[in-house]
Symmetry: C2
Subunit: 560 residues, 2 copies
């Protein structure tokens, strides 16, 4: 009879426990959770704060009792494992209700401790109006603070998933909200030009967005001395930012990121990777083969390079938990690389990504090309179509898909899912052209956004199109000329790239002699389609040319 | 200078013309269209009739003038090609405005004639209140008839895409509508148990659905003699159905299907396939290498088997048009097999499919297994989640994906797209387990419907689960016992499979001795999840068992 101990009762741990029981009725399975809840919907926490999820109970997916009845797992909440004793294969556990320690032996141990919010050593940050959000008690405290203090203003520090979701939740509750982010963009998984519409969306909904700014110190409100922090309870906070601004606020949410929870693993001398996560092999074993680890606490191999990466996402955690149970019972399954496919709702927009972004490709020195497509979420003539902005990164030598990002009101999840499957399957941009996706006017287009991205990328690799990007068109050389092929009304209404000559695409054939044959023509239109038609005309008439991928829309976003 | 003639100015033809121009400024390109419009949104026609698409102009995506200006293509509408003269490589064309014939020579010819509605030889069907819907003039006639006659009742014959969309359009216009379908289900691309919720949805929205019934004859209303059909204009129609019913109606839409338009190809002695479509090779050449053919008129190789199939869908037509232009200029591209991925909106539901359905797998004698998953379109605790019913067909020997079907209010397109990409890429059901799809509560679940289908299918192949289906559980042998593991309240409220013993899954461990060890236990729950937990308990306790995939929900649908 195998005795399995599991540390952590949320995504990965709970998945491992349930799967282990399905595989064996005999196994003894004990799951330790230091908090009061297991299997709670951690991704739902901001939505309960914001009011979208009305019932708190909806977040509690399982209880110790339901888990016992269904899976015969001995769930011990409020029981914190304080040490792993590898030599005798036991754990020392503290019952947080009784404050007594006790021991349990194991045959196999599963670590699913998760990650913890990074709380930087900022002066004054330890106060009664500052919170992070990782679990149900955190959420309860934030709601209690809102209900008790009725804040008129809140500040979120950090523009990642939780920071963005919290800013939206606070705005939904009618609280004026500032979001402070150290870098020049929110949502680090996407590149800056893809984040630009997110900034607009947040500002449009009233978020006071402060990019490129750090929180330096926290004081009690009304510039009282730092040693009077006790008055925070009544008076709120004053934040000092790195640009010198002072910000009066009544609620502070710290959401600058999470770090793997590795204290137990370190204490037990398990190998820790360079990124600070628990190292596991492809069967998800730590450096001790009887100890498995899953979820936010571990380092995963990133899909494109195989390099170690921290990927604190629910999907991988759940699948890893299931796989560990399989492997405990001898399945010998190997965890495949992680793409880090993710999505975030930002008011009426969604932003999603998979694979590597351009920043990372540059940092790793990998060869890449990129294309942008702006197309409708479904047939433009059917009501409710919204533009999707898709960025596709690929290997210019062989068309391998390196990553993709998309922003829009509708259908963003679908397009990134489609590309994530294609990438995982080893399809190339050439294959994206041929994907047969569902089409009827309410759902898509006969040539879907993804097909179109495949066309543009394949054209580029095959030499049917030479692409240019914002950086090149912003600083044309003396041997280059910038040509705007939109209609004059579009230029008047929306502006144009400085220095561009305007010949509408439908007049280009008759006016082509107005252009110099000795210069390279950098063509652009609104999104890249007419630009490509013009580009092909020019090249077929013997001109040198390039087409701005994504057109003026992408250029505007890159400039923002 | 290549001279390219194109017959047909909609999806495939227009795509070929535009791409050909992008590849060559020199080519002479003439596109003939016998109707008054090119590049119209044929998939949008029912939605203009129903009022969702308010502006008729929205359906006219290009005009001859815009096509000339943008692509320098000589577009000749109201010009019908009357013969292909292969020996001298010319066409004879009739100008329908002048009724004069003339000739044009070609180097390369592209046939994109589309398909035409099948109008069966039913007595009385040629009358002023009976229409089919394939193009803008058809649509205009239907709208004119509605506006002139103000019908209180309409009848649609045929439950495919157009028939269903037309029934919805007519209901939206406030017209009582009957839908008459010869087979026992609408939407032939899916299997009958997947069509059952579509029938409910249509009836719920007021469609008078008549399945298993054929239209036998059409009379003028009020049972006047058949030779008085002239009175139809004033008095409407009486329909005689194969079950003897008489149906008074004022508007009749014939939508029983389409057949490839092959008259020109036949006249030119091009090879026609067994299914009645133009035969092409993988480069989309007909039996005459200077004549290409694309779209609804040709036979495509079906994805799983490579067998010829008729796949009259917009996506393949558009891509084929583009590919033909590439091949005319020497690209040598090969058309890949078609999965026939398709989707249809049915009031608030969507139904979609890709690959082969079970009916076809049975007919072709191919080995298959099937699983059903009922899961939420996104996290159940976030508002707006709706159930998705997914059927996955796979090869039980190696897990190859054979086909998939889904029905639901939201997210159906995404799941079928994901599976379509996986199938095209050659992924198996094992790979579906590992797909990393976008997850946040508004968009999906940490274990998506598709992942879950992968889990169930992989469990089945690996022997972790033995599945049973409705036919087996409906007629258990003397050595079998049917076990319902739902809670008694569910049985009271929703009913149960006749003869089932009820032990709720959470009581099974303590009551397991109530079950006979010498019988095979056929377990079921509502959707299959609890059934699997119970199945694993039983097997791990030494019982023989099977789990009903899709549970009571699928059983109910199969019975409907």
């Amino acid at each position: 009879m195998t005795k399995i101990l599991i540390i952590g009762g949320v995504a990965g741990g709970a998945s491992a426990a349930a799967r282990a029981r399905r595989l064996s009725e005999d196994a003894e399975i004990i799951m330790f959770e230091r908090g009061p809840y297991i299997s709670f919907a951690n991704c739902g926490l901001p939505y309960h704060i914001g009011g979208d999820i009305e019932q708190r109970d909806a977040l509690l997916l399982q209880t110790p009792e339901s888990f016992k009845a269904r899976f015969n797992v001995d769930v011990r909440v409020m029981n914190e494992v304080v040490s792993i004793n590898r030599q005798d294969k036991t754990l020392t556990i503290r019952n947080l209700n009784t404050q007594e320690n006790y021991q349990e032996s194991y045959d196999k141990l599963v670590l699913s401790p998760g990650a913890s919010p990074i709380v930087p050593p900022i002066p004054g940050i330890q106060n009664s109006r500052t919170f992070s959000l990782r679990n149900i008690p955190d959420m309860d405290k934030i709601i209690a603070s809102i209900e008790h203090n009725q804040p008129k203003h809140a500040t979120v520090v950090g523009g990642g998933f939780i920071g963005i979701e919290m800013a939206e939740a606070l705005i939904q509750r009618g609280i004026n909200t500032s979001l402070v982010e150290l870098s020049q963009q929110v949502m680090a998984p996407v590149d800056s030009e893809m984040a630009a519409p997110l900034h607009q969306e947040m500002q449009h909904h009233g978020v006071d967005l402060r990019l490129g700014v750090a929180l330096e110190a926290v004081f009690p409100s009304q510039q009282q001395a730092a040693d009077e922090l006790a008055s925070v309870d009544e008076q709120g906070l004053e934040l000092r930012l790195s640009n010198g601004d002072l910000l009066e606020t009544e609620l502070l949410i710290m959401a600058i990121g999470v770090k793997p929870e590795t204290s137990l693993a370190r204490q037990a001398n398990l190998n820790i990777g360079e990124l600070g996560g628990i190292q596991v092999n492809s069967q998800l074993q730590t450096s001790d083969p009887d100890i498995y680890a899953v979820g936010d606490a571990i380092e995963d191999p990133e899909f494109v390079t195989g390099d170690a990466a921290l990927i604190p996402l629910a999907g991988p955690a759940n699948r890893q938990g299931r796989m560990v149970a399989n492997n405990i019972f001898g399945a010998g399954e190997h965890y495949k690389r992680s793409q880090g496919t993710a999505i975030c709702k930002i008011f009426d927009l969604a932003v999603a990504s998979t694979g590597l972004n351009e920043k990372t490709l540059q940092r790793k020195g990998l060869a890449y090309e990129k294309v942008y497509v702006h197309a409708a979420s479904h047939a433009g003539y059917y009501p409710g179509a919204h533009p999707i902005n898709l960025k596709l990164l690929f290997n210019p030598a062989n068309g391998a898909i390196l990553g993709a990002q998309a922003v829009g009101k509708d259908g963003v999840d679908k397009r990134i899912d489609v590309i994530a499957v294609a990438q995982r399957a080893g399809l190339t941009v050439f294959d994206l052209q041929d994907l047969e996706l569902t089409y009827a006017p309410p759902f898509g287009s006969a040539k879907d956004v993804v097909n179109q991205a495949g066309f543009v990328a394949a054209n580029s690799i095959q030499g049917d199109t030479r692409l240019c990007h914002s950086d090149e068109i912003n600083q044309p050389s003396a041997e280059q000329l910038v040509l705007d092929v939109r209609n004059p009304e579009e230029l008047e209404k929306l502006g144009a790239i400085p220095g561009a000559v305007n010949i509408p695409v439908d007049q280009l054939r008759e006016r082509i002699n107005e252009l110099p044959k000795d210069k390279e023509i950098l063509v652009y239109c609104m999104v890249g389609l007419r630009g490509n038609v013009a580009y092909r005309q020019l090249v077929n008439h013997g001109f040198k040319a390039k087409n701005l991928t994504g057109g003026y829309k992408t250029w505007l976003a890159a400039k923002a």
